[in-house]
Amino acid sequence: MLNDLKKQNIIKFSYSLKLTVACLILLAILTTWGTIYQADNGLYAAKAKFFTSWFFLAGGFIPLPGAGLVLSVLFINLISVMIFRIGLRLKNIGNILTHLGILILLIGGFFTFFFSEESVLMLKEGEKSSWSNSYHAWELSVWKDTQGVRHFSSISLSDLEKGEKINFPDFPITIIVKKDFHNSSAFRNGERSSNTDILNASGIVSIDEKKTEPEPEANIPGLVLFSEDLKKDILLYGGENISTSAEIKGDIYNFSLRKLRKKLPIELGLLDFRIKKYPGSEIVKSYESTVDIRHDDIQREVIISMNKPLRYKDYTFFQSSYQITPAGVEYSVFAVVKNSGRLLPYISSIVVFIGMLIHFIIMLFRRKKENSSAQKGN
């Protein structure tokens, strides 16, 4: 049956070497192009356009396949090659292993692309947290305190739409989204004329839309909400440090725009942050944090340093950077990555290496044999 299948044109095409070479050439072009594109437009834009996309428009109108599509085709090509082309024979073992390894690498790539989550956790010495922040996704957060207990409700900004009426399940208030800016600039009283029907704790009286920056971290969103109950606008700006509060129906509600938060499976407390420099220079030799972690009623101390992250289940915490305020307060910044396919590249690399080695050694011996038999023939 396999042999019948093998003769069908579509199947033939799927395992053809021409398809492999075409995919590899496309990938090489995309890699080069995307790298040059990065210099002017930043990594994020290059990734979105060339490396994670299925299609993109070159020059605005020519549709070309993105690396997402090319890699997927290559993936199918690989599987097909493994089924139909490379025979399951011992002399092919090197070849089989090499391609199996590449397959695993691609699976790892897809896993990471679809399921991994990156976020950041910044802690002051002595501070604790079990929440990490997104790098560039924002959320609208609303809370109120009743008898010392804080009730939260938050909505991702990407879920909000202009003109939408937001219903908070726990709060009896009605809020309408009047304006929703991806990137914005805020103006205080004095810079713009003020309006009495505006609520903002930082003295902002107006928010304007700004052109979206290619690097998403550079965008600071702005939100204009309308409270039906108060008949007032609530202005929120991503660059504010304080929340805006409003009394609605006898309760005090707090509103703020902040980076999207993610719950971590453990709580981290920063006990101490240390930085070492080479003597007599400003070159940083190493920096590390002593943290106190708690999970499932277990508490322990760990040191996280550059090249020595903390791993917990699918989560990995990296020492990524630090900040020291002029007053000498030390902050440690951890990158938090959740990736369940983390081990696949490791496995893949070993498999490919062994595969390539066996393959080329076999080739070498076969060629030597050919050579010597050819010489005998002469």
Partner: protein, 604 residues
């Protein structure tokens, strides 16, 4: 006649070898060289420091063929005698005319005396140029800043031991001689000014001068005194110690007194006394610093400087190549074996250099761009030698010595940034990953480069070879194929290891960073070649042409991403490199296109 010629050639080889091996003599600073200094976070012999500084000022590690340390000793101990040393490299003659110097002779090296009249003007221009944003400065403006910085460094060094020199400010005594009497000065200062005697007034005046000097000689560059008093490792310059004593009304530290002895014996041309005094100083430092500077390593580094191994390898590879070319013309065997011998000879200092650097720094051999080239040169030379051992068709020697030579020459261009054995920033501070990822990938690059060089050879043989063409071509093609495979395996493994390192240290295996993309491009191109050959889309000629494009991908991965100026890996940039790169690529494409058309016409 023939016999005589053979002897002649042997004599030439011998003299070449011996002239390269005989170290420079005429140095009587053997003890002085060992003084330990902290520069850029690393403790090194003052011998190395002298080279670094001289390279920084003049672009060369030697002054008129004499080791840099001789110049430095002259500058430190007798500054006025070094004013005529031509150490200031001026790249752009416009700099000289703009500071009002009449020494307009184009690019060249100038002495302090030649520039000294124009320093205030230079300073003025440098200050205004430094206010301009980096990217908007003209070449002349950048050069002015560079030259001013050179003069600044020179001034600082010239002042290092000023406290030992007699000066009219101190009635032809030294600053130090009064620092020894600091207690008396303190007493005088405490008295009412009206009650002072004539002599005491004079001393008070001198103490004001000392104040001025102490304020002037701050932030000196020569960190040769260990100070472990705070529990932390600190190194300071002689002036730091002198200034501290002066500030707290204390007599000078022992270190400083030892330096004073050293200075006076040098200035009195007392060689024996100088050596004794320097030794005393060095022993004192080692004792005080509890050997935090490993004396074995210091000695090793002095030896390394003296041998100058990579320069010697360059020399041997060059002659190996030359002799091999001679062997095509005449005295085939003799030249061939001399060339073989020279390649092996070149590998000796090359290997020594790599190992010595590893021991001195306690690091794997590759940590920066300079070292990647040195290491890749070594790999290609070794691969060439291995090829020769297996095939004995002299293509191994050719590719080995040629790529070894070219890569070493390229490394020389990066020596200023990379040869100083600098310290590594936190993210690179991992011997394990440096040893695995960086080495494997450099081996891979070396393999791809060798394959490309062989690819050239294949094409040239196809075009010009007469006689047993088919066999030779098949042989060469097999070498192209095998080395390409070798290169692919190592580049792939190196790239994946890099991904794993990235995953270990900042949590992503692959980030489409330019350097990563560069490596990916090499892998993709290599994979395209192998699959194209397998699917009979290309033949042996196509594969060989492809291997040349392989070199281009390596070159792009090496320099191209640095030229883009983005990404985490960006560690070496120069705009001259850009034009050289484009010219190189164009030449290669021309060669490929031309030879392809030629061979197609001849139906090959």
């Amino acid at each position: 006649m023939k016999f005589k010629l053979k002897i002649l050639i042997f004599i030439i080889t011998f003299t070449l070898v011996s002239s390269a091996l005989i170290p420079d003599s005429s140095v009587s600073l053997d003890e002085f060289k060992k003084i330990v200094i902290l520069e850029d976070g690393r403790k090194k012999p003052i011998d190395t420091f002298a080279q670094n500084i001289l390279k920084q000022l003049s672009g060369r590690g030697k002054l008129e063929k004499a080791p840099a340390v001789i110049w430095l000793a002259r500058l430190l101990f007798t500054p006025d005698k070094s004013y005529d040393d031509m150490v200031f490299l001026v790249n752009n003659p416009e700099v000289l005319s703009s500071i009002g110097s009449d020494e307009v002779q184009g690019r060249g090296r100038y002495s302090y005396r030649q520039l000294s009249h124009n320093i205030s003007k230079l300073r003025e221009l440098a200050i205004s140029a430094s206010r301009i944003e980096n990217s908007k400065r003209s070449i002349v403006e950048s050069e002015i800043i560079v030259l001013y910085n050179k003069i600044y460094v020179y001034h600082k060094l010239a002042g290092s031991f000023q406290f030992c020199f007699p000066s009219p400010d101190f009635e032809n005594n030294s600053f130090l001689s009064y620092l020894s009497k600091i207690k008396d000065i303190k007493d005088i200062k405490a008295k009412e000014i009206e009650s002072l005697s004539e002599a005491e007034r004079k001393i008070l005046h001198i103490s004001h001068k000392m104040d001025q000097w102490s304020g002037f000689y701050q932030d000196q560059k020569l960190d040769i005194l260990p100070n472990l008093s705070s529990g932390e490792e600190k190194w300071e310059s002689p002036w730091d110690s002198v200034n501290r004593s002066f500030k707290f009304d204390e007599p000078p530290a022992d270190f400083v007194l030892l330096i004073n002895k050293m200075v006076s014996s040098f200035r009195n041309n007392d060689q024996a006394g100088f050596d004794v005094n320097v030794k005393e100083f060095n022993d004192f430092v080692m004792n005080e610093s509890k050997n935090i500077a490993d004396p074995g390593r210091i000695k090793m580094e002095i030896m390394y400087n003296r041998i100058d191994p990579f320069y010697k390898s360059e020399f041997f590879y060059g002659f190996s190549l030359l002799f091999l070319l001679f062997s095509y013309i005449k005295f085939k065997k003799l030249f061939y074996y001399s060339s073989y011998f020279l390649l092996i000879l070149g590998l000796l200092p090359h290997t020594y250099g790599l190992i010595a650097r590893m021991i001195i720094r306690n690091r794997p051999p590759v940590t920066n761009l300079f070292e990647t080239f040195v290491f890749a040169a070594w790999i290609t030379a070794v691969l060439g030698l291995a090829l020769e051992l297996f095939k004995k068709k002299n293509i191994g020697i050719l590719t080995g010595s040629l790529s070894g030579l070219v890569l070493l020459i390229i490394s020389g261009r990066y020596a200023l940034e990379g040869d100083t054995m600098g310290m590594l920033v936190a993210v690179l501070d991992s011997n394990f990953w440096l040893a695995t990822h960086v080495i494997t990938i450099t081996i891979g690059y070396g393999g791809v480069v060798i394959s490309g060089v062989l690819g050239h050879l294949y094409i040239l043989q196809a075009m010009f070879k007469k006689g047993k063409k088919k066999d030779t071509l098949k042989d060469t093609y097999q070498s192209v194929y095998a080395t390409q495979a070798f290169g692919l395996i190592f580049t792939f493994v190196g790239t994946v290891l890099g991904g794993i390192w990235a995953d270990q240290s900042w949590g992503r295996f692959w980030g489409w960073d330019p350097k990563e993309n560069g490596a990916l491009l090499i892998i993709l191109w290599s994979a395209i070649m192998f699959h194209g050959k397998l699917g009979k889309m290309i033949k042996e000629l196509g594969f060989s042409l492809g291997s040349i494009l392989g070199i281009i991908t390596v070159v792009l991965a090496w320099f191209g991403v640095n030229l883009l100026g983005v990404g985490l890996h960006n560690y070496g940039f120069s705009s001259n490199v850009a034009s050289a790169l484009i010219i190189y690529i164009l030449l290669e494409l021309l060669f490929m296109g031309g030879s392809y058309i030629y061979l197609k016409q001849k139906k090959l």
